[in-house]
């Protein structure tokens, strides 16, 4: 790699030309098509915003450009005409001028600040730059990014999240890449550091460099970017100049039309309060809020990845300890551990079926009866017939398709595994069911079965809290939907007036009332 790292500041605007032209980039995970035929270009001297909901393919695209994943199809044409179909690893993509700051703050804790910044820049055995030069550039870059930069020799373990984020951003900036990709990597920076970063990005633009900018803040996107590409369901919806669009236009492009709501369920009259959260604070400096759950109610929870909605639902069942505030059952019993929660009839169905839900080596029946085994004990021995009976009762309701109960759980399809997991928790006769994205990665028929089950549960007076990344299902199911933004509820949308668009607006920190109502796309 060359020793020249930062160019001179050029103030006169450079003519913008395509640096990287994506042509038909596709990528699937198993049967899920994460990106299909994406085509757009990234030009010199531009800040290019990439927007889309959760699961729209943003992160996949970033990973393809940075050499973490390889595309299944398509190609990327670079400024000099070279064509790439993939980059084997991030080092290769960095050689072609692309460097990414990922959403997670990837610091190596065993290394100091300056070593973290320069890690990977040199060859395996040859230093890329003399030590003194490394230190000078790292110090300058950090000073540009913050008034209060971390010391070069500080261990990274001593830094808070904001400090770590500065380190990973500095790691990218010292390399002065042709294309800098920032994947929601400003969330932990404080306001002044964020402004400084934007100044750095603008000065990059003046030097002809490109930045691909992903953010959940519509205001940042509108003030900073020159062009915006909107992704939806793995497709590029549009690439357009920021000056020619508005926040509400972008948001409706992201969501598409509001889905037709089919099979609306009967609303229950709500019962007494069953669960109460008081002055909950999910993070230092996040707003405190109260929460009340009533019998027979379905509460939807939504938010962009990492905005506290996971922490919130986990705090309801004792898996997450809020910074302050408490969750209590109506009888006043506090819920601090999962055990306390389950004694109070609160059950949690985790999101990641594979790692948190199923016991892969065990059979369907064993997976079903794992937490409720004591119910089937008699004289210290498991009564298999009782278990089977109980299980069959639920499988009829949920329409689980299986060969034999003694088959391994992994022989079932993903949807049927999910049904077994849900049946497992229903067998404990819960009063509150907390579902973490129960329909992620399951087919439409299974979704319908799960929806019907939720209907039936609340008609029996069970309360359901459902976090979902499938916004349409919240629109259909929830009596009210709480949308999280920056670790606190941003909006609470009642069933009568909720729409996909309103939920997405709130996820991005926009109140729907601020936006003029307009006709879809």
């Amino acid at each position: 790699m060359s020793g020249k790292v930062r160019g001179e500041e050029v103030t006169s605007p450079i003519e913008s030309r395509a640096l990287y032209t994506l042509e038909g980039i596709s990528r699937s995970y198993g049967s899920t098509q994460a990106l299909s035929e994406c085509s757009f270009d990234i030009r010199s001297s531009e800040i290019h915003a990439l927007v889309g909901e959760n699961g729209s393919g943003k992160s996949t695209l970033v990973k393809l450009l940075s050499g973490v994943l390889s595309p299944d199809g398509g190609r990327i044409v670079m400024a000099d005409g070279t064509v790439r179909t993939k980059w084997k690893n991030p080092k290769k993509s960095a050689k072609d001028g692309i460097f990414t700051v990922f959403q997670e703050t990837l610091v190596a804790e065993g290394l100091s600040v300056v070593d973290n910044i320069w890690m990977g820049f040199d060859g395996e055995f040859r230093r890329g730059l003399p030590v003194a030069e490394e230190r000078r550039l790292a110090a300058n870059t950090l000073a540009e990014l913050s008034d209060n930069p971390p010391a070069l020799d500080a261990p990274t373990t001593s830094l808070d999240l904001g400090g770590r984020q500065l380190v990973v951003i500095a790691r990218a900036l010292v390399r002065d890449p042709q294309l800098l990709i920032l994947d929601e990597s400003t969330s932990a920076l404080d306001i002044s550091d964020r402004e400084k970063l934007f100044d750095v990005l603008r000065s990059r633009r003046a030097r002809g460099r490109a930045t691909l900018f992903i953010s959940h803040r519509m205001d940042e996107i509108l003030t900073l970017s020159d062009r915006i590409t909107v992704l939806r369901g793995g497709l590029v919806v549009v690439t357009q100049a920021t000056s020619e669009t508005t926040a509400s236009a972008i948001l409706s492009l992201m969501t598409g039309r509001d889905m037709e709501v089919a099979g609306n369920r009967k609303r229950q009259t709500l019962g007494a309060t069953v669960l109460e959260g008081t002055a909950l604070t999910l993070r230092e400096n996040a707003a405190a809020f109260d929460f009340v759950l009533r019998a027979g109610e379905v509460v939807g929870v939504a938010g962009l990845e990492g905005h506290g909605q996971d922490d919130f639902i986990q705090s309801l069942c004792g898996l997450y300890r809020p910074v302050s505030g408490s969750v209590k059952s109506v009888a006043g019993a506090p819920i601090r551990t999962l055990r306390q929660a389950s004694q109070l009839g609160i059950v949690y169905v985790p999101r990641d079926r594979k790692s948190e839900g199923i016991f892969e080596p065990l059979s369907i029946l064993e997976n079903f009866s794992m937490p409720t085994r004591s119910k089937y004990l008699s004289g210290g021995f498991l009564r298999s017939r009782r278990q089977r009976k109980a299980f069959e009762q639920y499988t009829q309701d949920l329409r689980v398709k299986y060969g034999s109960l003694d088959d391994p759980i992994v022989s079932l399809s993903g949807g049927n595994q999910q049904k077994v997991i849900i049946a497992r928790w229903l067998a404990s006769d819960p009063s509150v069911v907390v579902l973490n994205d129960p329909t992620r990665g399951v087919d439409q028929a299974t979704k319908q079965d799960i929806y019907l089950l939720i209907d039936r549960l609340c008609s029996e007076g069970v309360s359901v809290v459902i976090l979902s990344t499938e916004i349409e299902e919240l629109v259909v199911l929830a009596d009210r939907t709480i949308v999280f933004h920056e670790f606190a509820p941003f909006a609470e949308l009642p069933h009568e007036t909720v729409s996909t668009r309103k939920i997405v607006n709130a996820m991005f920190g926009h109140h729907s009332s601020e936006l003029p109502e307009e006709a879809g796309i």
């Binding site: 690893n89 804790e109 290394l111 973290n116 890690m119 040199d122």
Partner: protein, 331 residues
């Protein structure tokens, strides 16, 4: 009054914790001073010039073995190389049973051949871990069994005689203790690595391989190099062991694995990877050596030596861990 005492004690412990956290080898160094004083009290002539070279020679295979265990642990991802003990033993029987037996006992042949052997074995371990993606403990267990078996094939019975030039390695060359002829180059190699970008890549990979990978580090190559480096140090340890016992013995090697890994951990290298270094391992190997010396000098019955030795190790590791946790908290 009690409060005042606590105020002094609290920060004192914590600052020790902080210091050991910043310098992982600090605890083993403190332990070294304590053990050295104990040894000198029990055996006043312990460090006398007359037998200093011999004392050092006994400790040398341990020191080099501890160095050999360290890079693979530093490389993270559950990295560990349990085959270093048998590799040391295999080097010993290879020198006696193959090289010397075939009249190739010349140092100009023995030293390079043995080092190539060690690096090759380490490289195979590294490839199995980094590219074939076997779990390190499984991959190196396979290598362990293979080398133990091969050692018996090469030299079924203890025996043979080391070449004459090796006597000096266990004694002295003029005023210079022979052990230093092996330790100094080994440490020199580590210093060169410490100052190279490989060290940064190694600790980065060990701390968080995703961070290192996305920053552009070839994490697979780094891991292979770490195991190869372990093989190099193990080969040096094998030479030191041969010089010490002056013959070949196919059963000697295996016991070095546990001592070496204990030393690495006692020296402050985190089993989780990315934290630590060879300095701590060297000092901790000397600690373990001093513990054994102390126990035999105080006539602890031989079958109790293992028990006491294990207990001291557990207690030391426990204290080290508690202190480091305190240090981390105060940061």
């Amino acid at each position: 009054m009690t409060d005042a005492t606590f105020e002094i004690r609290g920060p004192g412990l914590r600052s020790i914790g902080k210091a050991t956290f910043a310098r992982p080898w600090m605890f083993s160094a403190l332990l070294f001073v304590v053990l050295l004083v104990c040894n000198l009290l029990v055996l006043p002539g312990f460090l006398a010039a007359s037998n200093f070279a011999a004392t050092l020679a006994v400790g040398t295979p341990w020191v080099l073995a501890a160095m050999a265990a360290t890079p693979s642990i530093l490389s993270g991802g559950g990295g560990i190389d349990i085959s270093i003990g048998p590799l040391i033993g295999f080097v010993n029987v290879f020198i006696i049973g193959v090289l010397v037996a075939n009249g190739l006992g010349n140092p100009a042949i023995v030293i390079p051949v043995v080092i190539i052997l060690g690096v090759a074995v380490g490289t195979v371990n590294g490839i199995l871990v980094a590219y074939v993606r076997l779990q390190p403990i499984v991959a190196t267990l396979g290598m362990y069994l293979l080398l133990v078996g091969l050692a018996l094939v090469v030299l079924p019975q203890p025996g043979g005689t080391a070449p004459a030039w090796m006597v000096g390695l266990a004694g002295s060359f003029g005023p210079v203790p022979g052990a230093l002829v092996l330790i100094v180059p080994a440490v020199g190699v580590w210093i060169a690595i410490y100052r190279s970008p490989f060290h940064r890549a190694l600790l980065g990979t060990g701390s968080d391989d995703r961070a290192a990978f996305t920053a552009g580090v070839n994490t697979q190559l780094v891991r292979v190099c770490a195991y190869a480096l372990g093989g190099f140090f193990a080969a040096m340890a094998g030479i030191a062991l041969t010089a010490l016992v002056q013959s070949g013995d196919p059963t000697l090697g295996s016991s070095f694995t546990l001592v070496a890994i204990s030393a690495a951990v006692l020296g402050g290298t985190s089993v989780a990877g990315g934290v630590g270094g060879i300095t701590g391992s060297i000092i901790a190997a000397l600690d373990i050596y001093l513990i054994q010396e102390l126990l035999s000098a105080t006539h602890v019955p031989s079958f109790w030596i293992q028990v006491v030795y294990g207990a001291i190790l557990l207690i030391s590791l426990g204290i080290n861990s508690v202190i480091r946790t305190l240090g981390r908290k105060t940061q």
